[in-house]
Amino acid sequence: MVHISDGILSLPVLAAGWAITAVLIAVALWWSKRKGSIAEEIPKLSVMTAAFFVASLVHIAVGPTSVHLILCGLVGIMLGILAYPAIFIGLLLQAFLFGHGGVTVLGVNTVDMGIPALVAYGIFKAGNKLTPSKSMTSKASILGALAGGIAVALAVSLTAGMLYTLGEEYAWAIKALILYHIPIIVIEAIIAGSVVAFLARVKPELIGG
């Protein structure tokens, strides 16, 4: 899991996390208000957030342990800018309902997962524009895998970066974290590709098609 627990990070990092998150949520909500009524977005966004919450409960065996899905790339691809508040709500519920992650690190964790979601959204959108539209499904699956994989890799890097603020002494812990996540990046890429290909065929409007 790329969640950082409570009790690890320092005050300035926690504060910065909350500040960035507050600004990005405000921007995302303002943006979607500008485009139309927020009254329509809230219920829809909520149900989709619940879906991602449920999906992230799937755990997959990797060697001796098992991992929960992260899916931040998919959240971005499907929800666009609004992925950021959705991830915040999802993490808040995970912290309150399961004790996953933590309360004080909510801001930081949202940055770690939310920024990659926005990046995945960008990659997917740009990729769709750039590539000539040949087979819709295979293109979607490649782009989905790419965006999904990169998003998780980025999430891991950001988490590692947060730990790095603690000092050189954590170098090994950071290496362990990265090592642990390499198979997860692959798993997430495969799953994201498969989900996006499925959606391209069954419900294209979900991926902005």
Binding site: T137, A197, F198, R201, V202, K203
Partner: protein, 302 residues
């Protein structure tokens, strides 16, 4: 006849403490059609999930063809027992119908050629040939229901277990589905277990009925079960309308020992009785009382 499924002293408690099944005993013979009837929340679905080993209880035993499910691997069980879910959307999750029908056989480790053959057969049995590349999600509800049955048929189970196969269907789709289930039983000799509270389908689908309400309340032919009004009332089950009406007719002097359960039964019954003698309907002193007693018997509220 040999025993296909035998359930012994089965009990099941969900993790939140809900007791769904208690001391359930049941036997299904090869080639037979058995209906499990019971109200909402009776534990029908829970029982069916035990029949193919999805749920495994520590209490009691389920045997298929004499072998305890506890000692079988999932793969071995699903070769024998195919389970069709109530909501077809739960079962159809592939982008094309072909993929969905191939899913089971592929998981069984069959060769590609065999898989293709089975998919083709299953589609043709259900009258869905030519639908291979359709997306199941975009089918109509009736078609989805058939598709979800096809996805199990393609695994060629010896025992077919269906959860509420007729729920939510409009009359044509419902009649088609009942017909298909009957044919699978008659032609291919597949043993059928159906859970339902669609009581009007029972006479057509059942050789034998078990009434379930957490425990097995009763067992018998459809006729025997419907004859026991108290049983039905206590377990919140309906009686076919035809049956009720003949009860009423009996009050008006229609001579009838075994009450018919369906229109076809009724026609046969009428023809037989009338051929023997002419029938006079009339009102006795106690007719109204009798009729009222019958009506209140079937009033479910109050």
């Amino acid at each position: 006849m040999s025993v296909a499924i035998s359930v012994q002293n089965l009990g099941y408690v969900y993790s939140d403490g809900t007791v769904a099944l208690e001391d359930v005993n049941m036997e299904v013979y090869e080639g037979e059609r058995v209906v499990i009837a019971g109200p909402n929340g009776a534990g029908k679905t829970t029982l069916l999930l035990h029949l193919n080993g999805i749920l495994r209880s520590t209490e009691g035993e389920v045997e298929v063809f004499g072998r305890s499910l506890k000692r079988l691997r999932r793969e071995e069980i699903i070769r024998d027992v195919g389970l069709v879910f109530q909501d077809p959307d739960d079962q159809l999750f592939m982008p094309t119908l072909f993929d969905d029908l191939a899913f089971g056989p592929v998981n069984l480790g069959l060769k590609e050629e065999e898989v293709r053959k089975r998919v083709k057969e299953a589609l043709s049995i259900l009258g869905l040939s030519g639908y291979e590349n359709r997306c199941p999600h975009h089918l109509s509800y009736g078609e989805k229901k058939k598709a979800s049955l096809a996805a199990i048929i393609s695994m060629e189970p010896k025992i077919l277990v269906l959860d509420e196969p007729t729920a939510n269907l409009d009359p044509r789709s419902r009649a088609e589905l009942i017909e298909i289930i009957k044919e699978l039983n008659e032609r291919e000799g597949i043993t059928i277990v159906v859970a339902t509270h669609d009581i009007n389908a029972v006479p057509e689908l059942a050789d034998r009925v078990y009434v379930l309400n957490r425990r097995i309340i009763a067992e018998g032919t459809p006729g025997e079960i419907f004859n026991d009004a108290a049983l039905l009332r206590d377990n919140n089950l309906e009686v076919p309308e035809v049956y009720k009406l003949f009860e009423v007719l009996r009050c008006f002097g229609y001579p009838c020992e075994e009450l018919p359960l369906s229109i076809d039964d009724a026609v046969a019954e009428l023809t037989r009785t009338i051929n023997e003698r002419h029938i006079h309907l009339h009102i006795h002193e106690h007719t109204h009382e009798d009729v009222n007693r019958i009506r209140s018997k079937y009033e479910h509220h109050g």
